[in-house]
Symmetry: C2
């Protein structure tokens, strides 16, 4: 046990203080490391330093030849060369040993540190370093040549191998060598030629893309040599970043150089030190320090600061062999820069309770706000003008930003959704209004309204569509007018005009601001309900095919002879034929069609004809249709599950990211194509999509323009104000709630929203559609969400291992416009569209509903996630932030209230009361208001948003609280420093005491 002479006292205490950092020797008031760093980093923070790419090369004996072999690299995370696997490992977090960090620290303390060296080539730099070491007496001059020789050996990088190598390998392996020697070829190629002469062809490999353009390299060289008896350490910062031949794998100029050569036998230890400095070099804070360091002490302070913030895993709870996958997010350097602030540490995870709720309060979710777009201006049309002012500058970009491959898939997806919607609603409307508005009107209306809206509205991501409440309204209206002898189309026109005017009034008075009172509770209730309706509609329509095509479950294959369905002539006719008497037919049917009924071969008639001519269908198969129902089910379910699987494929490990993204983007298209193909292959007559092929109103007795006067008495024009009010509320609620959902901050929209502008255009379109006798349109929640989902952008991850971030949505008008133009020209696309079976489209509907319900990743603590919690034992529940802060039973209670509200709405929705749907949404607002009495604001802040009114109150309260807290803190700090002074004394006293006790 060697002990140092007593003379080193002060220095060693300094070391100790520094190593142990500020609080370590608990009681030193301010860490000298932090003080130092604050000084140098504070200098000029405006010019950010270049990103560092670090490469670590180790010295390898290859036959007789020494060479530097790349063994790991860091852009942000570590990638190691798998020596046996001859490939890069996955990027992972560099786990270091505390050892290696302390060893590195010692290395920097004892080795040569050269800052701002004017270097232009490796030999010159190496000479410089060696000279310094010799000057300082750390190196014997006779080792000069040897060290220089070793440091100038060639560098071999881990790159793609040429193909012929594997043949060479094979030949060698057959020789029975126990271990391949992967460098044979290389060594033959370039024996002994020093590195700076071989200028490697610029490896413009894919990896370059992962390194930022302005990056500089830091090279770490470690190795063991037999002629040294103590380590040769050098840390060099060049004055200018210089490309030093093939030193670095990629053509990035080198700025830093760390060299560690040591005596043989400790290669592992050297490697660890190399990894430690490499990890430090890519650390945001330390690299900053490295760029700005004035001397050795600054670097050491940097290490100390790094040590100060490291996260320690206990050896018994973690297997050091596990490579830790890079986390989704790492704290930014700014947050970490504790040196800038008062040395406040980033606390490791389990802040283990503690009396202070500080940490938690700081994490509180930001208060609910819908942005200044919904402010009440108080001026006439103030909101509308602001909206226009806000959207106008984006107008050009709204078009050119649409040019992207993703747009194609979005257009296809939404187009199919829109025409399916147009056809189903068109059919239903046709039924409800005796074809005054049919499929043709539906197509035309969708195309017209959609195009105009997407062109001029405030939020072009919203997709307009017919909705359920409107359908029910039209139905009631038609019945009312028929029963009361009022002309339906004219009445409807007037309602449209009134409603339009009412909308303008709402716009002019900025009435949309009341949407502010809508919190997540209401949004979720509304969008979940709409999603459920979508899902249930899709399933209902599917199940419908079991009704249209009943299955003969009693069919016994062997008794196929017993099954038939015959068309028999009506009885009197039959008897007449029997009697040979054939009187001239007098009934309507035969005369109408100019057919002699006796000429009919009844057995040749189809089912429809048979019924038409009054024949009777006799037989046990008449009411059954084989195969179609089951085939429809297979198509429906197949389309749905294939879409889901392909969507998920994005998260699989197969194929390159881009291909997977493409597959995921086009999943719906591919699923539709597959099942259209399957349907064609089997060839069954499944129900197909049929679009109108001629441009004319569905009902022959109406034209394209509805005239406002002439058919109804004058008071109807005024009285229609009342139903118009209902329509206005309905449209207002539907439109604005959908808009709120689309504009959610999770979607990261940057172009702002335009509630007033939207409503203005919806009003205009109301009037236009009424004049043209087309259906009314309003924002469709589910399709709009699908639209947004299909336009999501993710960052292309930069450093290997970094997770792609959700960047936002491709906000533009192009996809919307294209969708609706396509809808308009669908009349000409009929030959193509007729191959698509309806069950496939229902499958797409089901997918839309489910996707909008489970609410794609972004909505992390959505209603649906909370419902899932009911079925999860708490230990398996995901680590949602709100679960850390709100008791589970409160969360459950909140979810239960939502479920009950939904159930009530669902029941009401299924009755005629559905027309009051928008009013019911107002009911949700009231329920939410009442929840304020049951839940504390703290809980609601986590699981919902806080209502605007409460918000202010809360802010004030919080403010008060903060004040007192701050005061407490200040006091605490003062106390602290007092304590520290005292404690340092005690500590030193203690040390002295120890010393006295054990003077050995």
């Amino acid at each position: 046990n060697h002990r140092c002479p007593p003379g080193v006292t002060i220095a060693s205490i300094k070391v100790c203080q520094a190593v142990m950092m500020s609080d370590v020797c608990v009681f030193v008031p301010v860490s000298p490391a932090a003080e130092r760093l604050r000084y140098i980093l504070g200098e000029d923070d405006d010019m950010p330093n270049p990103t560092l790419f670090t490469e670590m090369d180790t010295l390898q004996q290859d036959g007789d030849e020494l060479e530097w072999k790349e063994s790991a690299r860091w852009v942000k995370f570590e990638e190691k060369v798998e020596d046996g696997g001859e490939r890069w490992s996955k990027p992972h977090v560099s786990t270091l040993s505390l050892h290696s960090l302390f060893e590195l620290r010692t290395c920097l303390q004892t080795g040569t540190v050269v800052l701002d060296l004017e270097g232009y080539s490796l030999p010159q730099i190496v000479d410089e370093i060696i000279e310094r070491q010799i000057d300082e007496g750390m190196l014997s001059p006779d080792l000069r040549e040897k060290i220089s020789f070793v440091l100038l050996r060639k560098h071999r990088h881990q790159t793609k191998k040429p193909i012929h190598r594997s043949l060479a390998d094979m030949g060698k392996a057959s020789g029975g060598g126990a271990r391949e020697c992967p460098s044979a070829l290389w060594s033959r190629m370039a024996i002994g030629i020093p590195i700076h002469i071989i200028v490697l062809p610029k490896l413009r490999n894919k990896f370059m893309k992962k390194i930022p353009r302005d990056a500089e390299a830091s090279n770490v060289l470690v190795g063991e040599v037999d002629f040294l008896d103590k380590p040769f350490v050098a840390f060099v910062r060049l004055a200018q970043a210089t490309t030093l031949g093939g030193l670095t794998e990629v053509p990035v100029p080198t700025r830093f150089l760390f060299i560690l050569l040591g005596p043989t036998g400790k290669a592992k230890s050297y490697n660890q030190i190399g990894r430690a400095i490499a990890t430090l070099m890519v650390d945001d804070l330390f690299s900053d320090v490295a760029y700005k360091a004035r001397d050795r002490e600054d670097l050491i302070a940097g290490i100390d600061e790094f040590l100060d913030e490291v996260i320690v895993l206990p050896p018994g709870e973690w297997d050091p062999k596990i490579r830790i996958e890079p986390p989704k997010k790492v704290p930014t350097a700014d947050k970490r820069k504790s040196v800038h602030s008062l040395n406040e540490l980033g606390q490791p995870n389990g802040t283990a309770g503690g009396s202070g709720g500080h940490a938690e309060d700081e994490e509180m979710p930001v208060a609910h706000e819908l942005g200044e777009e919904l402010a009440h201006t108080g001026r006439f049309c103030g909101g509308l003008f602001l909206d226009m002012k806000r959207k106008l500058p984006w107008f050009p970009s709204d078009f050119y930003e649409g040019f992207h491959i993703q747009s194609i898939s979005a257009v296809l997806f939404i187009y199919l959704g829109c025409i399916t919607n147009a056809i189903t609603f068109g059919g239903l409307l046709g039924d409800a209004t005796d074809n005054y508005q049919g499929v043709m009107e539906s197509f035309l209306g969708t195309a017209l309204s959609g195009t105009v809206f997407c062109m001029f509205s405030g939020q072009p991501l919203i997709i307009l569509s017919s909705t359920g409440p409107i359908l029910i309204f039209e139905k009631l209206l038609f019945e009312f007018s028929k029963n009361n002898g009022i002309d339906y189309m004219e009445l409807r026109l007037w309602i449209g005009i009134h409603s339009c005017i009412q909308c303008f009034l709402l716009v002019a008075t900025d009435a949309s601001y009341i949407i502010k009172y809508m919190t997540r509770f209401t949004e979720e209730g509304f969008s979940s309900l709409i999603s459920f309706i979508f899902i249930s509609d899709a399933i209902k329509k599917m199940m419908g095919s079991f009704k249209y095509y009943p299955i003969n479950t009693d069919f016994k294959p062997d008794y196929v002879t017993a099954y038939k369905c015959e068309c028999l002539a009506p009885d009197p006719m039959a008897s007449m034929i029997f009697n040979g008497l054939v009187p001239v037919p007098t009934d309507n049917t035969s005369s109408l069609f100019g057919l002699n009924i006796t000429d009919l071969d009844w057995s040749q008639l189809s089912k429809k004809e048979c019924v038409k001519y009054g024949g009777s269908l006799v037989g046990n198969t008449c009411k059954y249709v084989p195969d179609l129902a089951l085939m429809s089910f297979i198509l429906f379910f197949g389309t749905y599950s294939m879409t889901v699987s392909l969507k998920k494929f994005k998260f699989s490990r197969y194929f390159p990211t881009k291909l997977r993204k493409l597959i995921s983007d086009f999943s719906i298209f591919m699923a539709i194509m597959t099942f259209v193909g399957l349907d064609r292959l089997i060839g069954l007559k499944t129900p197909k999509l049929i679009v109108p092929t001629e441009f004319k109103p569905t009902r022959p007795d109406r034209g394209w323009i509805v005239l406002p006067f002439g058919k109804n008495p004058w008071w109807v024009y005024l009285a229609s104000f009342v139903p118009a009010l209902l329509v206005t509320i309905l449209i207002f609620m539907d439109q604005q709630i959908s808009a709120v959902i689309v504009n959610r901050k999770e979607n990261k929209l940057r172009k702002g929203c335009g509630y007033h502008l939207d409503l203005f255009w919806v009003g205009v379109l109301m009037a236009v559609c009424s004049f043209l006798g087309l259906p009314w349109y309003v924002a469709a929640t589910v399709i709009s969400i699908a639209h947004i989902d299909s336009l999501k952008m993710e960052s292309e991850s930069s450093a290997p291992g970094e997770q792609p971030q959700f960047l936002g949505v491709r906000e533009q008008r192009l996809t919307g416009i294209l969708v609706f133009v396509l809808t308009g020209v669908s009349i000409f696309l009929a030959p193509v569209l007729q191959f698509i079976p309806m069950p496939v489209l229902y499958g797409v509907f089901l997918y839309m509903g489910v996707a909008s319900l489970s609410g794609i990743q972004v909505y992390a603590f959505s209603f649906w996630e909370r419902i899932k919690l009911y079925m999860m034992p708490s230990k398996y529940q995901p680590d949602f932030p709100f679960l850390r802060h709100v008791p589970l039973r409160r969360v459950h209670l909140f979810t239960l209230v939502q479920i009950i509200c939904l159930a009530v709405l669902w029941v009401l929705k299924s009755t005629v009361l559905a027309i009051l749907f928008p009013v019911m949404i107002l009911g949700l607002l009231v329920v939410r208001k009442m929840l304020d009495m049951v839940f504390s604001q703290h809980d609601l802040a986590w699981i919902d948003d806080i209502l605007p009114g409460k918000d202010k109150k809360k802010d004030k309260k919080k403010g008060d609280k903060d004040d007192t807290k701050k005061k407490d803190k200040k006091k605490g700090r003062a106390d602290d420093s007092k304590d520290k002074v005292r404690n340092v004394k005690i500590y030193c006293h203690q040390l002295a005491g120890l010393e006295q006790k054990k003077p050995g």
Copy 2:
């Protein structure tokens, strides 16, 4: 900046040395900490210390009342009380800050350490500690009362809340309080009563099960108080573990007590220190130290040793807020106990290349060995007797270990597989042998052979079944005998007898030992092929239903009237009827059935009858069967996907583990039940499982016993030796390869295998079955694997967060016997079984094939996984060990060879050559042998096993290498220590130098 007097030199250097540990101040030869620990831990290692449960309580102000509130607990991993969430967090790895560890170290250096205190109650212990502190002058006597008061406050644990609390909460929340105060009830219940008086009702909660029985508790109490101006620290080890009232959440006696009270303002810091000591207490190594420590210095050495092994995460690459999930496995304390060995560190992951391949060689996979069961004894029946000797002791446990709920699901699963197999093979055999062996024989044979084999064999987990090659052999044999006028049954009997004798010969000569040459390559080839056959058979059978029940794809629902199928009388008959002439029928048909053909109402006949009586079927629906094909598909695919989903359900987060395990175990049963139900609901006449209901041979003209003599010429008895040889090889290969696959070490079987015994019984059964005219049986790979999978055991995880470990397979004979007894009595189960549609069973088959192919978790680097690698970009590939050591292209090449072999086998298998199947497996062995020339032994060791011959050679070589290596190492070590001596001098010199430079 306070500096200590120069007197403390030695002490501070010691601190520095200790803190920095052995290599940290790189150059201190042997770490004093390690030396110390080696001494105390070496004492008596035979008595393991109890496991420690650690609870950390923090001091909380609750209104006017102070109380200790549980804030975290550790069994192995940390569980924190979510303060807001009022619940336990998920168990996670305790991430500490380096700070807190150093602070803890200082605390233990300066605070009171009392070891082996005789304590019986908390007040007494507290008094004792306070007295000591006062004695040592560390505490002013007037604080005695205050500290004692604080330390004896009551303890509140985090347990389940009574339900009425949530009502109380609600009432409170409606008052608008910003934050709930969850302790209101408690404080009202127990104001001011010191803890040792409240004896809490023994909380026999579920958590107790997670703590080992002999566990002892360590309690950590931290908090801030306003009357102290420096920390009050105490670490107490009690002489006897004592239950100190309600100090601990669970009734576990307390052994250790750590108290930290400090001045206000640093609560966070105290918490971190508390977490640090708690984490240390559950560390295997440190808890050992804590139990055996003789003084304060030992504890500090323990911390130093802990620090020595911690894993450090760089702050820029990890977010400290992330709670790290416990790893699947942690290194055992023994491996970590570097103190026992020569301070060799567990190296963190990235051993970043380095010149030494040491680490890698150490990790090399263990050599391929099949155990002593396959040793060539050289004695007559040596292997057989060894097998019996090995298996006999397990015989009783083979029965009583079968009583477990899992067995039921296994029996149901395998039973359904077996009867499906019996029926399909029975049907095929019946076709091939003109019903000499039909479904009845198949059932009987399966039951008989299976029961006998499971009862007496060496490996009762193997399931016997008919296999493809045997089927083909029987087919050829039957055709041969029919063409040559030889009696089939008698010939078959003689082949059976010969084959039996040949098996006995193989058993007597221990011939099974050649199986040793079978490596993973061959195993995988064989089992993959069998799996593919299973999958393709299942799909083929399914597709068959599209053939049996053709779909009328031209069906137009509207023209239902045009579809019929009529049975028309044969033409002459028709004309006769037409002419009124009815002659007495002379044809065979009508006379045979004694029916007057004229009495037939042809239109009432079924399809079959019509054809039988010579009628003709006329019409466009005759050849079509509606719905059945599609329904079959739905049943098939539904069963398969439901089984897969339910199996996966085990890994979901929903429902408690036990329920999920149950669902997963019974997934096949539940899927079958569901789809049987669906089939019943729809009521279509899908093809059902039909088992024979009468106990009699399928062919009426054969009896149950085949006589050996009489029907064939004498030379046939001898000549049948030749085909018997083929059968023997076939059986030998099939049986033993399946056995090798079942006995794989990944399955962790403990009862040993019995290759010779198995073969003996297969031979016996050959003969018996031949005498009874039943099919021959041999091990079925896929079903055997399914059997094992359904019997897998996993540990019930003990500490929260610990992963359940695969423990092995429930090895017993009961499930097998039950399966085959059930098969035997299936004749009586017919009324139940007849509800099961065949497509459902094909779905089960498909599942079996896919499951055995993808080879459940255990076979980590299986063929299938390697095929997947082809489609994965290397950055997404899982971190398989072999990928770290073998270049990817070599892995791909190896896989490619396997794929080609399989393809060749597959093609051959589809021809008549299939009978040579066993010989082809031998071909695989040859291919594998040739691979030795293409691949290096190093690569093969990772991706395959090494052949026995090579193995030895390699061993020798490795031995040589090791020797030299050892020598190198020794030399290196000697050099090392020399270096160290020198370096220490330099280091000290350095320090001195520094000191001279900066004398401030």
